[in-house]
Subunit: 410 residues, 2 copies
């Protein structure tokens, strides 16, 4: 199939020609289909295609174009990103399908995927801003992470299967480079891409120029990101990449997926819950909600570790550890140290992820979007302080209690 960019009309034709999709939508003629565009896709075109006479029958069609949709053709970005999104979604479908939208069709040549329309869910970031509680979120996301990180690692896959899978994602250079630049470099130095609140000019200057120890640690973490092929990571697992309601949790948008360090997705999530905590701290004093957020962080890592270790305990032999190689007592010791390293790097990555949102090109709505100038400044400076603390101390923070203590202290 040759690549062509679909529009609001041709998307209907396209969908009508895919048998299982047509079947799902229960239409027998093109005229029974209706389509609309979702405006908030930054990178891609996103359409809803529905049965005109039964709105419950609808699907999402997402197509990448060879530029950044929200900016226009003058900002080229390879549409190959959809290739990696498709491959990650298909892999997740294999190992933790309950936490991604159902995939009905995908085509790398067309840079297109057709999937479940999550019409009863909202972006977690918005839900948190709106002060919602999600009591199943931690249970769901820890299962997603434990399974996706464990089953694509050398703790589970045989060497050939792992290398084959690495090969599928190795060329996701462009998006990895975005992370190298915008998570690990530009937001910590004078750079034209930065977006600095004019209320914080002097603090930014101070931060850029007097932060050598912090920068050294950032280099350590960036190097880990660039060279550790632990496992298939989502690569951009912030609260904007999660669709949620009280009962269900779906991870979306894995176009940054590649083989990277265990701690990166974990750190991204911790960072974004912390951002929400900071935001709520400056705008209201609902201690209950703030406590729920803090407890969520603690529960998040504890449950993740428990589930990950549980999967590991059930894996009798792997490319790393042949059955009978080592006694169970020492193996437990090895696992303990292994998990400690995952935790440590998660904290370091969380620190980067928090800090980069302060002066970097991409902020987070719950902080940069604060309309009250004083609140925004306060939240930004708290995030700056906390992010720095985590990066500076990451190798010494070895449990969630310590982490929570540091969060509270800022």
């Amino acid at each position: 199939m040759k690549y062509e960019i679909l529009d609001i009309n041709s998307v209907k034709e396209f969908v009508f020609n895919i048998n299982n999709v047509k079947e799902y939508l229960a239409v027998s003629s093109l005229a029974e289909l209706t389509s609309s565009e979702i405006g908030d896709g930054n990178l891609n075109f996103v359409y809803i295609v529905s049965n005109k006479f039964d709105a419950t029958k609808s699907l999402i069609v997402k197509q990448a174009v060879p530029y950044l949709r929200c900016v226009g053709e003058e900002f080229p970005l390879s549409r190959e990103r959809m290739t990696y999104e498709i491959r990650a979604l298909l892999k997740y479908q294999e190992i933790c399908s309950e936490y991604i939208p159902k995939i009905y069709y995908s085509n790398e040549a067309m840079s297109i995927v057709v999937m479940q329309n999550l019409s009863e869910h909202i972006i977690l970031r918005k839900g948190l801003i709106q002060h919602h509680y999600y009591y199943n979120f931690i249970e769901h996301i820890t299962t997603f992470l434990a399974k996706s990180l464990f089953f694509t690692s050398s703790l589970s896959l045989d060497s050939k299967a792992k290398r084959d899978l690495i090969g599928q994602f190795n060329s996701n250079t462009e998006l990895c480079k975005l992370t190298e630049d915008f998570v690990f470099t530009a937001p910590y130095m004078e750079d034209e891409t930065n977006n600095i609140n004019e209320e914080c000019i002097s603090e930014a200057k101070e931060f850029f120029n007097n932060n050598e120890e912090f920068k050294k640690n950032v280099l350590e973490l960036k190097y880990l990101f660039m060279t550790s092929s632990d496992t298939l990571i989502h690569g951009d697992l912030h609260t904007g990449s999660i669709m949620i309601n009280e009962n269900e949790t779906f991870v979306i948008d894995p176009e940054f997926a590649f083989f990277g360090p265990f701690g990166f997705d974990i750190g991204a999530l911790i960072a974004n819950i912390i951002n929400s905590y900071i935001s709520h701290s400056v705008i209201l004093s609902d201690e209950e909600y703030k406590n729920w957020l803090l407890n969520s962080i603690e529960e998040f890592y504890t449950k993740f570790e428990e589930k990950f270790l549980n999967l590991w305990d059930n894996q009798k032999s792997s490319s790393l550890i042949k059955e009978g190689f080592i006694g169970s007592e020492m193996l437990d010791e090895y696992k303990k140290e292994f998990m400690k390293n995952i935790f440590i790097s998660s904290i370091g990555f969380a620190g980067c992820k928090i800090t980069r949102r302060v002066f970097g090109v991409a902020g987070v709505e719950e902080i940069r979007g604060l309309e009250n100038k004083e609140q925004r400044k306060k939240a930004e400076l708290q995030a700056l302080e906390l992010g720095q603390q985590l990066v500076l101390q990451y190798k010494n923070i070895t449990n969630t209690e310590q982490l929570i203590k540091i969060i509270k202290s800022v």
Copy 2:
């Protein structure tokens, strides 16, 4: 070109059809060519093709077959290994051509490479057994290693170039698996592939069964080997992969090449010089030669580090460190810690490389080949002890003095 296995006759025809090769050999008819087979290729067929009337004009033709040549067709091994050997040779030709044989022709489809005939050089392992001094060796091999490891790492390559290069080697699964199995697993446990000296049966049993701390550290090192995409490594850089004479040093046989940890090639070399030291310690008391070997180890790492850092100092900007990101004082501190990590892992890998030669399937000639039973046993037990010490202590050995002290103490 379709793959076909050449023999001692067809190899002449093949060579005659390659223009630059024909030119180099200065022949104008097939009848002017003569060929012979080199018997000691374990994996591949290796021929010398020469000008019948001028023996100085000769080249090596090396072709992989889809099985282990020394065992026969019943031991299949993909001929793809030559693909990786060719790619590594061509990369080395770009960045450190003076330390590999000159390449005249290569063809991945035919799994064949035509290269300089190193007729005035011998395998370093044999040279060391024969008690030769090579006063230029350390100078040469440290330049080779500094350049090959630096220029294919994220300290030098941009992100896209590095990922492209990783892609060229990512599928070298079969040979990586050999290392995972025969350097990091089987030689440390009861395994049918092991080759245990009958004089050491009880020591082997003791070693296999009471060595949990050692095995935990082996797992750490194996995990590094399997997941650290630092740089393009040779992957099998022992003294049998080096051809040498007083003036020249050539690295050969990089079929194990892939993106792995910095310390692996360094550790392999240290291990093999140590094996030579152990061998000489049990058969003679030529203190001068033993001292030369020990000094070589010290000089080897010191010079490697100096050259590597020198290349790094000349690299103003890289995918890891953008110019201006960090001050020079803290950058030096970062480099110091970076080099310390390389050293530490080198020691760990050296420990594995020494230990695995004791009871594993592949021994080293200077120890396993000792005809005097007592000497062999003594050397094996010394290697066992020293290898274990290095693996057990690798994280605490931070300079060459400490290393030399441990070697001397065993």
